[in-house]
Symmetry: C2
Subunit: 200 residues, 2 copies
DNA sequence: ATTGTCATACCGACTGGTATGTACGGAAAT
DNA sequence: ATTTCCGTACATACCAGTCGGTATGACAAT
């Protein structure tokens, strides 16, 4: 296995998976390298072989999470051309993610909350992750207004950040209330809001 | 000075103020007792005289923050009887808080994100803080529907959690993007959504 | 008025545990 | 043979929380 460049190895993947799990549950600071190693079934030697620091792992995890998320949305919108329909597909995807399987929250949102002042590099990674969502959605929202509601009186530019904020906030409230219905209801309110803005 | 019961003292207040500031900035885990003591200008002896643990301080801070926040909203709605107008006043209050002064985020939201799994007592305090907002707002939203839009097709029960989620998420996005206009725009979207639901 | 007692208020060195990161060595693969 | 890979032991720092100590004022007894 030598001669490779140290990316893409099963050990590294296990560390990423464990790190993702633990950091999403307890946040960045409380997640310890030892715990991550134990969960991954490896030792510290491996950890610091693949990552030069805990912060390095955090950065990789944030980027990985954002990329996976983006891929999910992209898949949910595959083949759909109408921009408004693409937005609804994205919300359906979020809805589906909340409904099925375990919701362990968004890694980007979880980490951003506690490291934005103390770890500028991680904060930038989080910002990039958010922007990725915001920008792609913004494009569709603006286009959709031109197509379906050119005369309507609202600004489509900021809507994508609004959607993201509500989704992030819903996951936050879920952490304290454990109420899945509330999350789903919030996505419903978002959809109804969009319907009223875009006329359908 | 003896014979009192140890609550309400300038030293304790300084610890609370410092703890609030630091935990809001760095979260619960990263905020150290030493740092809080240094910021308050006292020593560890004082800290553990007034609080039996760091978690104890956290609990007090969450309750304090929620109470202050509730008092602020109450003041913003003072003398207003119409339930819908009360809701708008609350949003105006949030708007104003975002616009003026420093926004250091919501302590409840910040802590909830990282301690919900590891510190059940703190999570319960956060839930109570959120519920306080949700319940009082829910009452007005339900009443407002009966008064102003009894025939409209939406459920007013969940709207308050939706409002809170969007506001919390907006503050979260602010941490990565530092964009105050985005927060204000999101409150604007909320208002316009309410206007479209309630017909005014 | 003075003294003694006691609870509150506060200090700061210390402890035990644990955190990240390092040093180094051996296994395994090319 | 050299590099990747991964384990163990260790270095260093820092964490929450403890503990004895001092100071101060309230109260009671003298």
């Amino acid at each position: 296995m030598p001669r490779t460049k140290a990316t893409e190895s099963p050990t590294r993947d296990k560390l990423l998976e464990a790190g993702d799990e633990i950091m999403r549950a307890k946040g960045y600071v409380a997640a310890t390298v030892d715990e991550i190693c134990a969960a991954a079934g490896v030792t510290k030697g491996s950890f610091f072989h693949y990552f030069k620091s805990k912060e390095d792992l955090g950065k990789v995890l944030i980027e990985r999470f954002a990329a996976n998320q983006a891929a999910g949305f992209q898949q949910a919108q595959a083949g759909v051309d109408d921009p408004l329909e693409r937005v609804y597909r994205a919300l359906d995807f979020a809805d589906e993610a909340f409904r099925t399987g375990e919701i362990r929250g968004c890694l980007v949102g979880t980490l951003a909350q506690e490291i934005w002042l103390t770890h500028p590099d991680l904060r930038d990674a989080c910002r990039f992750g958010f922007s990725r969502f915001i920008e792609s959605m913004k494009h569709d929202l603006v286009e959709a207004k031109r197509l379906h509601a050119p005369a309507a009186d609202f600004d489509p530019e900021g809507l994508s950040a609004y959607l993201l904020a509500t989704i992030q906030g819903s996951m936050l409230l879920y952490k304290t209330h454990g109420d899945r219905e509330m999350m789903l209801a919030n996505v419903g309110y978002l959809k109804s809001h969009l319907r009223s803005l875009y006329g359908r």
